[in-house]
């Protein structure tokens, strides 16, 4: 048997790599191609200011994509990330403006709201056995409607919440390293991504997330309490959406009840472009980050090149397809 063992070891070893470390390099190759292309096409693209624009434009979608990644790896899907973000930003408004609690308390409160909301979806899915697509589609609409109802379809402005807008727009980094006005929102994105990657890679929750997406029945037969962990996964995703809600609210210094719908597609696109399979069991946060960057680089680059908007849409669509095809080719090559 030795021989077979040894036959398999190398294979498995790099098939392991190709499922994680590799994937990232592969996916990133697409990103690099885009960056180079746009830089050559326009002198305005590769400026510190613009790179920072891109990063900032990525932050909200990036955070939502992290939430989506967790759910998708577990074999589910979450269509409610966008409007849950909105709902949470409204919640932040209610806390800080209507109830006038101090900013930090308001932020904690918002995170709790997100956690609770996510756990609710999770409960529908785990306990009532409602398909994730349906449960989160329903919640998407519910959050949307509630956001409008709560703030009477008018934005809530944070003008009186001292320094709340600094939370996203301000730049602690520039305070530390002068000349690098990296907005906090980008730092937050980074923190969220690292945390999520850590949870996925090092904790039981992460392990069960992959196991669930890989073979839920087998996990159940192994005596693991599926329901509890599933609810935890959606809950965590919800809390992450709350972070996105805080970011966007503080960036536009207001809670806009009307936005959010449609964001879920961008988030999911980022996840899949990043090489995470929608059938669950496989995926990486790094991949998702690259996917999110690809999306905002394309959006920004095409604007910089003053491509007419209708063609911007066409090109974005094409690039999503090509990027993924790229990824597939390279992975086939690696395997």
């Amino acid at each position: 048997m030795n021989d077979v063992g040894t036959v398999v070891r190398p294979r498995s070893a790099d098939s392991f790599r190709s499922s994680a470390l590799f994937q990232q390099i592969l996916a990133s190759s697409g990103l690099i191609v885009l960056l180079v292309g746009f830089s050559l096409a326009s002198p305005n693209f590769l400026q510190t200011a613009n790179i920072i624009n891109i990063l900032q434009a990525t932050s909200v979608n990036g955070v939502l994509a992290v939430a989506a990644t967790l759910v998708i790896i577990s074999g589910g899907i979450d269509l409610s990330v966008g409007t849950l973000m909105t709902f949470c930003s409204v919640a932040a408004g209610v806390f800080m403006i209507y109830l006038g609690v101090p900013v930090p308390v308001g932020i904690v409160g918002t995170l709790i709201v997100g956690l609770a909301a996510g756990s609710l979806s999770g409960t529908f899915i785990a306990k009532l056995k409602i398909p994730p697509f349906i449960a989160t589609l329903g919640m998407m609409l519910i959050y949307k409607g509630l956001s409008l109802a709560i703030c009477g379809a008018k934005p809530i402005y944070f003008t009186n919440a001292g320094g709340f807008n600094q939370f996203s727009a301000g730049s602690l980094v520039s305070a530390v390293i002068p000349g690098v006005p990296l907005p906090n929102s980008v730092v937050v994105l980074f923190a969220v991504a690292v945390t999520a990657a850590f949870v996925l890679g090092r904790t039981a929750l992460g392990r069960y997330t992959f196991a669930m997406g890989s073979n839920e029945e087998a996990l159940r037969l192994s005596g693991v309490n599926i329901d509890r962990w599933k609810i935890a996964i959606y809950g965590l995703a919800g809390a992450i959406c709350a972070v996105a809600g805080i970011l966007i609210a503080s960036r536009i210094n207001s809670a806009q009840p009307a936005i959010g719908q449609g964001y879920e597609l961008d988030a999911i696109a980022a996840v899949v472009i990043g090489g995470t399979s929608l059938s669950g069991g496989r995926g990486t946060i790094v991949g998702t980050m690259i996917g999110a960057l690809i999306i905002s680089v394309v959006a920004n680059g095409l604007r910089i090149l003053s491509v007419p908007q209708e063609w911007q849409i066409v090109v974005t669509g094409s690039i999503i397809i090509v990027a993924v095809y790229f990824d597939i080719l390279r992975r086939r090559g690696a395997a």
Partner: protein, 290 residues
């Protein structure tokens, strides 16, 4: 060649109103020989997307910016960056809550729909039930066009009651038609419906036709189909702002600002009531787009 470059960022993109504004802007751009880009977040209300657009445009170092702010406050910080970069900002369609814009080209939405309310009252004989078919619940335009109408009725026509306000996201034509027919059935005594943009107006016309109803239907904006509906009497009439004019004046003001000429602080592009009788009137015609 380094022609001056004017960046126009609107609230929306694919809806006809914004396309009409774009038309006027392009007209001016060619007339004054400047480069011009026109974009707006798809699906109104996406404040943060508009901020991304503003920042991307800034990276292109435009000579001037034309902005229709989705949220009059949220955009201020970015516009400040424009000001710091010495780029003149012209607001259009709706204002910005700061003194940064050197000029604003817009119409008084509230007054324009008040006129629609007066016409409605006149056409239904000063009493009875009316309803509103609104295209948006949250955008400034949507809110003003709804409230302007409601307030005018409340203020001046006690015998008229507004029994229903239905919204159709973005004024999708087919969905507006469905909503219209539903309202007609839900309120059998309905005497009139006011639709707040082109999409809802066309939907209103289709719904009225399909249900063979005789109510008084009043629209807003123009567009070939709405004009046809007014000509054949399905719609009693409409209010038109001058979107083409707004676009034109915005770019014109931008060019003047670039040249360092004085720009009027407010450019009122006006609004008109039009119906069968005056639709071809030389004063009205330029304010209508096909």
């Amino acid at each position: 060649e380094d022609k001056p470059y004017v960046a126009i960022i609107s609230k929306g993109f694919s809806h006809q109103f914004w396309q009409a504004v774009k038309l006027g802007a392009e007209k001016a751009a060619t007339e004054f020989n400047v480069d011009m880009t026109f974009e707006g977040p798809d699906g109104e209300g996406a404040v943060d997307r508009q901020l991304d657009m503003l920042q991307a445009a800034l990276a292109k170092h435009p000579g001037a910016l034309g902005i229709a702010a989705i949220d009059s406050q949220a955009t201020v910080p970015v516009l400040q960056q424009y000001k710091d970069a010495g780029i003149p900002v012209i607001a259009f369609d709706s204002g910005v809550a700061s003194d940064i814009p050197i000029s604003s080209a817009s119409t008084d939405n509230l007054a324009s729909v008040a006129l629609a309310a007066d016409k409605m009252a006149e056409l239904i004989g000063g009493e009875g039930e009316v309803a509103i078919l609104a295209h948006d619940q949250t955008s400034q335009t949507g809110i003003e066009r709804r409230d302007g109408f409601v307030n005018q009725i409340k203020a001046k026509y006690p015998k008229i009651t507004i029994v229903d306000i239905q919204y159709v996201a973005g004024g999708d034509h087919a969905l507006s038609a469905d909503a219209t027919k539903t309202m007609l059935l839900a309120h059998p005594n309905l005497k009139g419906i006011f639709a707040t943009n082109e999409g809802t107006a066309i939907g209103l016309a289709i719904g009225k036709r399909e249900s063979g109803s005789k109510i008084v239907a009043i629209g807003y904006d123009s567009g070939a189909e709405q004009l046809a509906a007014i000509r054949d009497g399905t719609l009693a009439g409409s209010i038109t702002q001058n979107p083409v004019g707004i676009g034109y004046e915005t770019v014109k003001a931008a060019v003047m600002a670039i040249k360092g000429e004085a720009v009027p602080a407010h450019i009122d592009t006006g609004f008109y009531w039009y119906d069968k009788t005056n639709i071809d009137d030389p004063i009205i015609k330029p304010n209508l787009y096909e």
